[in-house]
Symmetry: C2
Subunit: 393 residues, 2 copies
């Protein structure tokens, strides 16, 4: 038996590089990072817990890069220990003599659009952010990936559906949250980067959210499925373009055909198929889609969440020109919650000020949640549990 | 709108490293690999299409490392173009001055136990290996990840369930294939490394396999779920030990409690809940589990597939001592197909010769499939479609 394991262990790795322990989460919630790079002359850690670097692009836009920290060499191993970290899901990679690389000792890798990086989670107490994003010893829902007919966009499309713990063995009907991703994302984004299944499992187990179905469609009109999951092959994902080269925003097509998604869910899951049993929210482009879908179908959603939403017109579709009259329709049958969230440093902040000014000028009721930070997943992972806790009460 | 995209594009990446196109699959199915490493003095490509290097360990075991090829520097970019490649799913990484790194331009990353690497697929014609492993424009099944009660192993456990295209909108009952992973694998292994969902979609669409449900449980007795998917957190996966440090083989516990899996599936899916509607197969440890489960429950499975199966006793469980009498039971009600597959270079080859000698000595009917190569996913991805095409005919 021992020989079996030894041989097996040796067969699989691509090579025999010394493995180091990294990241090592220490008892005080500092984190030690290590990489074996005997021949390197400079190694840096790049992570979002480090102070950001502001850079101005040649277009004059100011943007932020995750901070870097110098790692110190000890024998063949480069090492860096962070300060004590607050509960959060953090991302990082290494830069070895200018070359970006992953931490090959850490198999937990996320993809955000076309970038891959390692992650780790810090949690101190039940209910903190790190706890909400972790898999805890609580009842777990199921996550299904399925293809559904989407005649409005032509052909079959892929989506992910979370059903809460207990759904399979119950006869009850459940409310549904439609959860939309941003530009460059896809039906996997809220599950991977947004930790949606973990957040819902934990909120429900803590009694902070009602059990609900969560539906994550692919909101890129020209993309049938996440990169690598559709028949366009393993192409390089892009922020702005789907596999066949069209604008991800879809010029209203996704919004206009959204009942393809709702009808599929209502006919294949035990749902509360009425306004009081439906919520919709999304981030960035998905916030824009949420706003448009909810005004296009004013009888459909009682809970609407715009997370760092794009608000200006992104195309020439007729549905965009109908916004004001449709909003009038939507707010004439006041949704139970119309929730707008954004970070102070978000580059879409001003667009949201303008949109709120419009709502205010009409006297439409909404709630507003503002926090620190910008257009990043750290914020969208905050908004989801705050919004979800308000639903179907 | 343009400004929106520009800003958004700049915000997300961890840094601004020049992206190169890699891998680039050329028209003749050669592949060009590129990496920007201006400061490096030597860069190699490591991939399983290159001739292997044989190495002898200090224990005297001979094992193989994927071959390496020198990349050539052209400005800041290192480049290598492969010969014309046959249809297959290939893995690779780069070695930059001795440092292993992924191709950061390729977001398609697989994890095998504790190793991560990039992949790409070559396909020439409908039905070839690369085609079977790809997402093609065919009807797609669904893949659900769910938690089920497993009293025999204590608590809830996670599994993946593939349902074929059409299942949701049908009233029919379907046969079920139980598909088991090897040591170091988990309920994600056949989906990721084995391309099981793609293989089944394509085989069914080509008319080469019957529509069937495919159930992928976690066969590591001490592990409730894949690493990162259970409450043990984001630990480093291991070939031999689960999160709580116990032998993955489980000393018969997984086999003895396997009806927990079957009962859950039969009570939650529309199955043909009888011997003629059930198949079971697995690789390596999963082949060992398959052999044991199928003899423990001789009325349960009409199709049995041992892929590169471990055959010697891996523990002291009583069920292992009952093998010969239980095999007599099993073959007294001859399964429709008892299928043994192994590569000529597999380190378990001799164990399988001994097992077949036993079967031959008793006159038990089985089929034997032998091919080139060793204990690797390239072979298990071959065995699955050959076996699946034989089921439920």
């Amino acid at each position: 038996m021992r020989r079996f394991f030894i041989v097996l262990c040796l067969i699989l790795p691509l090579s025999l590089a010394a493995k180091v322990v990294s990241p090592q989460i220490n008892a005080n919630n500092s984190v030690t990072f290590r990489i074996s790079a005997p021949n390197a002359s400079r190694v840096q850690l790049c992570s979002d817990f480090l102070p950001v670097t502001k850079v101005t692009s040649k277009y004059g836009n100011v943007y932020e890069l995750p901070g870097r920290a110098e790692m110190l060499k000890n024998g063949d191993i480069w090492e860096y220990t962070s300060p004590v970290l607050e509960p959060e899901l953090y991302k990082y990679n290494f830069i070895v003599d200018g070359l970006e690389t992953l931490d090959m000792s850490n198999v937990y890798v996320h993809r955000d659009v076309s970038t891959i990086y390692n992650i780790f989670i810090i949690s101190k107490n039940e209910g903190d952010k790190g706890y909400l994003y972790s898999v805890n010893d609580v009842p777990h829902g199921s996550v299904n990936r399925l293809w559904y007919p989407a005649p409005g966009l032509g052909g079959q499309r892929r989506m992910a559906v979370y059903t809460p713990a207990g759904y399979e063995d119950s006869k009850e009907s459940y409310p549904v949250l439609y959860l939309l991703h941003g530009a460059g994302g896809d039906e996997e984004a809220w599950l991977m980067l947004g930790r949606a299944a973990q957040i819902m499992d934990n909120l429900i187990a803590l009694g902070k959210a009602k059990p609900m179905i969560v539906v994550m469609p692919n909101g890129n009109a020209p993309q049938e499925a996440a990169p690598g999951e559709g028949s366009k092959g393993m192409y390089v994902p892009s922020m702005t373009r789907g596999a066949i080269g069209n604008n991800m925003f879809g010029n209203g097509g996704f919004e206009s055909s959204f009942m393809d998604v709702v009808n599929y869910i209502d006919s294949h899951y035990r749902t509360i198929a009425q306004k009081s049993g439906r919520a919709i929210c999304g981030l960035s482009m998905g916030g824009f889609h949420t706003r448009n879908i909810s005004y296009l179908y004013p009888d459909c959603f009682d809970y609407v969440g715009l997370f760092s939403a794009a608000q200006q017109k992104r195309g020439e579709a007729a549905i965009y020109d109908k916004m004001e009259s449709q909003l009038a329709c939507q707010f004439a049958q006041q949704p139970k919650l119309y929730w707008i969230a954004i970070g102070k440093d978000d580059f879409l902040y001003e667009e949201n000020v303008q949109f709120r000014t419009l709502l205010d000028s009409k006297g439409y009721q909404y709630e507003y949640f503002e926090n620190e930070g910008g257009h990043i997943w750290l914020n969208w992972r905050i908004y989801l549990p705050v919004f979800a806790a308000r639903l179907f009460q």
